[in-house]
Symmetry: C2
Subunit: 526 residues, 2 copies
C-alpha cells in the first residue's frame, strides 16, 4: 500500500512523515485503501519557503492572469467530475447525486469562476483615490494563505477548491492547503487538477501546495509563522480556537468558522397560517445532508400555546418517517451522541430519535428534543451546545418577555430566521424579537430556512463570535470574501508610473470600480 | 483638592476609586492640581450596562441624527478651544501654537465633521444589494466601543475626541473612553463638551462615557467583556498586547496601533540631487513634536559611499542646532533612555545627542545613531526597538543585496518612504527595494517624510503586525476607518418594509453609494 505524496513547490514528493493515516468509508465503516502522511514540521517549513517565493511573483501578476488560472481549474474540475464524485462519496458518505455531482460540484466551479471574474475586474480591491491629497489606496495581496477545510463540504469548502481557496487566490496569494483528514483522496484529486491548471497557465509553481495533515503543535506553528500571511479555517470550535490563539499571538490574521446553532423563531401567526408548509421546510432543512451544515437550524424558538405542541408532534412524525442518512464519520456520530448527552443533562427532553447507528454505517436516528424557556434560561450555555448532525432542539417560551430573554443570551450565530404571519398578525412580536436576533447573527432571514448559502455579493456567511472570529467578514460571497486576504496599502505621493496599474489614472480594464474623490466610477481619473 | 468625577450614563458622578492620581506638567515636572480616580471594576460594569442600553437605541437612529451630534460637538470644541489648548499644553508640554491651537484642534474638528458627513450619507456601510437572490447586506452598528487614547495627540487621537471616537460614533455605537493618564484634564474638558452635545441633540445619554483609569486587570476585563463590541487602542506595544490577548481570547475585535519605526530609504541619486533639502526635511520630520509621532522616521537606510557620510554629518549638525523640546512625560524620557541603551548595546553608535534632561523639563538632546548594515543584520530585533521621541537610527548598507536583506527582516510598520533621484538615476535600486518596503508597511511614500497623516479617504494609518493588530484596517481616513466598528449584516428574503432604510429600494438620502447588482450607484433599486 503506497503512501501518497504531498505537493510542495510544484512537485509531488514523499512527505517527511511522522506517521500515516487512512480515510474510512463511513457507510461501510471500512478503511479506504490509500495511506496518507502526517507531515513533520519540515514539510510545513518547505511549503512556507516556497510559498513566500510564489507570493512575491503572484502579487505582481495581472488580475487577468490569476483569473485564467481559476477558470482553467474550473474546467479541469468539470473534466474530472466523475473521479471527484466517486471519491467524495466513498470518503464522506454524501450522495453522489444530487448532492455531490449536481449541487456541490457546480457550486464549486461557479464559485471559482466568480472569483476569476473578480480577479479580472479588480473591483474587490476597493481602490480609493484622493486626487487633491495625492494619496491612493487599495487592497494588495497579503502573502501565503493556509486553508484548513471542514469535513462537511469536500468540494465547495475544500481546502484547495472551496471558498477560502478561491478568495485567497483571487487576492493574488499562494495557498497551502491542509486537507481535511476525513477526505484526503478527494483533496488529492483537486490538488492534481489545481497543479495542472497552474502549469497550464504559467503561474508560480508554489501557487498551490498540499499537506494532508500535521500534528497539532505543527498546525499552530504553521498559522503563527511570520511567513504566513493569513489563515482560513472551517471546522470544530475546539481545534479552531487553538489555531486562533496561536495566530492571534503572532499577529497573523485568521478567519474562522467555528460553530453555529442558527436559531429559528417561528411565530404563532405563521404556524396558524402555514402549518404544513413550515413543518415540511423545517424538516427538510434539519435533515439535509444529515444535518451536517454549518447553517443547520439547531435551535427552534416557539411560543407556548396555539399550534406549538402540534408542530412539535408533526415534526417528530416527519423525522421518524424520513430516511436516516449516513454521517460523515465515526467522529461525527460520537460527537452527536456527546452533544445529545449534554443537552439532555441540561434539561432537554428527547421527543424522538437519539439512537446511534440507526442507519447505514455511522448514523443516528433523526433527533428532536425540546425544553421549556425557563429551563433554557437556567442553563443557556449547555443548551446552546452545537449538535452537529440531524438533531434539533425546540425551546418553548412562556411569553414575549421570556422569548426576548432567550434571544438575549444567545451566542453569536451565522444565521437567524423568523417565520411570521404574512398578514401582519405577528408584526408586534417580530418587532420585539428581531433586533436581538439581528445583532447575534451574520444573516437574518424571513420565512426561509438558513441552509441555502447563495454565493451572492450580498451574502454574509459570518457572524459574531463564536460563529466566527470577527463579525466584519464573510467566508462566502464574492467579492466581499476576497478582502480577507488582502492588506490595505496606501500610496502617498508615489510617482505615477510606480503605482500599481489599478491605481494609475487610467482604469486598468475599463470595468474596475474605483472610489475617486468619494465618487464610485469605472472612468479614468480626470 | 477635589477628586474629579467620572461620566457614567449621562451623569458626572463620584467614581468607585481604588486610588487617585495626578497629571504632571512635563515642562515644570510639577504635579497639576486636580486629582483623578482610578476606577474599580464597578465603574466599568456600570458603564458597560449603560452602553448596552445606549447601543440598542443608537443603532436605530438615522445617520442624520448621529451627524448632528458630531457637528454640534465640533462647534462646542471650537467654543472651548482656549481651555483645551491651555490644559493640553499644561499636561503635555506641546506648544499652544501652532501645534495645539492651529494644527491639532482644527484637525480634530475637521475629522468629526468628516465623520458626520459619512454618518449622514451612510456610504460607509458598503450596502450591497443582490436583487436576483433577494439578499441585501450592509455594515450595521456593532455595539459599545472602548477607546484607549495615546499620550501624543491629546486632541486628534484623544479617547473622546479623536479618530477612533469619531469612527465608532459614526458607525452608531456608544463610546466608553479611557483617558490617557498623562492628560486627564484635557480629556475631561472634551467629555464635558461631548456630553453637552449629546444633550443638545437628544442622543442616548450613555452615548459618551468617561473613565480616567483602571487597574490593568480591569482594563483587560473591560475589552473582553461580552457587552463590549470592539476596542480601539493607540499606545505602547506592551500594554496593547495585554489588551489584545484578552480581547482575542474573548473573540472581541480590537484595533491597535502599537509601534512603528517608519523606515526611510534615501537613495544615492536623491542625495546627490537634493542634499540640503532632504537634510532639512529629515530633520524637520524627526524633531516634529519632539519626535513623538507614531509615524516618526526612526530608521534611515542609506547606501555606503557617495554623500552618505556627509548626510549623517549634516543631520547631526542640524540636530545639535535645533531646539530641544520638552517630552510628554517622565515616562517618555525614561523610555527613550532605555531604548537608546538597547540600540547601543546592540551595536549602534551615538553620533550626537543622547543626553537626558538637555532641555526644559523632561527632555533628551536630539539624538542620532548609526550602525552598519552587517551589524544591523546581526541583531535586527534589538535594532528595530522603537525609540519614541527625538531619536533616529541610520543604517548604512554595503550594497544593494545587503539593503534588500535589511528590508526583508523589517517588522511591520505604519509607513515606509523612499527618496530617489527625479531623473531616474535611482530607478533600478528603487525597483529592487520598493517591493519589500511595500509589503512591510501600510503606507508607502515617495520623496516625502511620513509625519503628515492626512485625514483622506485613501489614507492608511495601519500596517502589518506589530504596527497594528490587522493589516486590513486603517485608524485614520473616513469612511474607511468607520467599518472597523461595524458588523456585516445580511438580510435574506427579509420583507421590504422590515429592511433598514439604507437597504430599502429607495436610496435613503439620494447620496448614499450602494453596490446594486455589482454596480455602484446612488440611484434607487429599479
Amino acid at each position: 500500500m503506497a503512501v501518497q505524496p504531498i505537493l510542495i513547490n510544484g512537485e509531488w514528493k514523499k512527505a517527511d512523515a511522522v506517521r500515516h493515516f487512512q480515510a474510512e468509508n463511513p457507510a461501510t465503516k471500512k478503511p479506504l485503501s490509500d495511506e496518507y502522511p502526517v507531515s513533520s514540521w519540515k514539510d510545513c517549513d518547505e511549503a512556507l519557503d516556497a510559498a513566500v517565493v510564489a507570493a512575491e511573483e503572484l502579487r505582481s501578476l495581472s488580475g487577468a492572469k490569476i483569473a485564467s488560472f481559476l477558470e482553467r481549474y474550473a474546467e479541469r474540475i468539470e473534466a474530472r467530475a466523475d473521479d471527484l464524485v466517486e471519491m467524495g462519496n466513498a470518503e464522506t458518505g454524501l450522495a453522489k447525486s444530487p448532492r455531490l455531482a449536481d449541487a456541490e460540484l457546480p457550486r464549486t466551479t461557479n464559485q471559482l469562476r466568480q472569483a476569476a471574474e473578480s480577479a479580472r475586474n479588480e473591483s474587490w480591491r476597493v481602490a480609493t483615490i484622493d486626487t487633491k491629497a495625492g494619496i491612493r489606496s487599495a487592497y494588495g495581496s497579503l502573502g501565503p494563505v493556509c486553508v484548513f477545510g471542514p469535513n462537511n463540504f469536500p468540494f465547495a469548502f475544500g481546502s484547495i477548491s472551496g471558498g477560502d481557496f478561491a478568495a485567497a487566490i483571487a487576492a493574488g496569494n499562494p495557498v497551502i492547503a491542509k486537507a481535511n483528514s476525513s477526505h484526503p483522496g478527494t483533496t488529492r484529486i483537486f490538488a492534481e487538477e489545481a497543479m495542472k491548471a497552474v502549469e497550464d497557465t504559467g503561474l508560480p509553481k508554489a501557487t498551490v501546495q498540499l499537506i494532508y495533515r500535521t500534528g497539532h503543535a505543527d498546525g499552530e506553528k504553521l498559522v503563527a509563522d511570520p511567513r504566513n500571511g493569513a489563515t482560513g479555517y472551517t471546522g470544530s470550535r475546539g481545534a479552531g480556537l487553538k489555531l486562533k490563539e496561536a495566530a492571534d499571538k503572532a499577529g497573523n490574521p485568521i478567519y474562522l468558522e467555528l460553530s453555529s446553532i442558527n436559531p429559528v423563531a417561528i411565530l404563532p401567526g405563521a404556524l396558524e397560517e402555514r402549518f404544513d408548509e413550515i413543518v415540511e421546510e423545517f424538516k427538510g432543512s434539519c435533515l439535509l445532508g444529515a444535518g451536517q451544515f454549518c447553517t443547520n437550524p439547531g435551535l427552534v424558538i416557539l411560543m407556548k400555546g396555539g399550534k406549538t405542541d402540534a408542530f412539535i408532534d408533526a415534526v417528530a412524525k416527519k423525522f421518524d418517517d424520513a430516511p436516516v442518512h449516513t454521517l460523515l464519520s465515526k467522529g461525527v456520530q460520537e460527537g452527536l451522541a456527546d452533544s445529545l448527552k449534554i443537552l439532555k443533562d441540561a434539561g432537554a427532553e428527547l421527543i424522538t430519535g437519539g439512537k446511534s447507528g440507526a442507519g447505514e454505517g455511522y448514523s443516528q436516528s433523526n433527533t428532536l428534543l425540546s425544553v421549556s424557556g425557563s429551563k433554557f434560561l437556567a442553563k443557556p450555555e449547555e443548551l446552546q451546545s452545537e449538535a452537529f448532525g440531524n438533531t434539533s432542539l425546540v425551546v418553548v417560551a412562556d411569553d414575549t418577555n421570556q422569548a426576548r430573554d432567550i434571544l438575549r443570551v444567545l451566542e453569536g450565530n451565522l444565521t437567524a430566521c423568523i417565520y411570521s404571519h404574512t398578514g401582519g398578525d405577528d408584526d408586534k412580536l417580530y418587532d420585539t424579537l428581531a433586533p436581538y436576533l439581528r445583532q447575534n447573527a451574520g444573516r437574518l432571514l424571513n420565512d426561509k430556512m438558513p441552509t441555502g448559502v447563495a454565493v451572492s455579493p450580498a451574502m454574509n456567511h459570518g457572524g459574531p463570535y463564536p460563529a466566527t472570529g470577527h463579525p466584519g467578514f464573510t467566508a462566502v460571497g464574492i467579492p466581499a470574501s476576497i478582502i480577507r486576504f488582502g492588506m490595505l496599502q496606501s500610496f502617498d505621493n508615489v510617482r505615477p508610473h510606480r503605482l500599481p496599474s489599478y491605481l494609475q489614472d487610467k482604469n486598468p480594464n475599463g470595468e474596475m470600480w474605483r472610489l475617486i474623490d468619494l465618487e464610485w466610477t469605472t472612468s479614468d481619473v480626470k
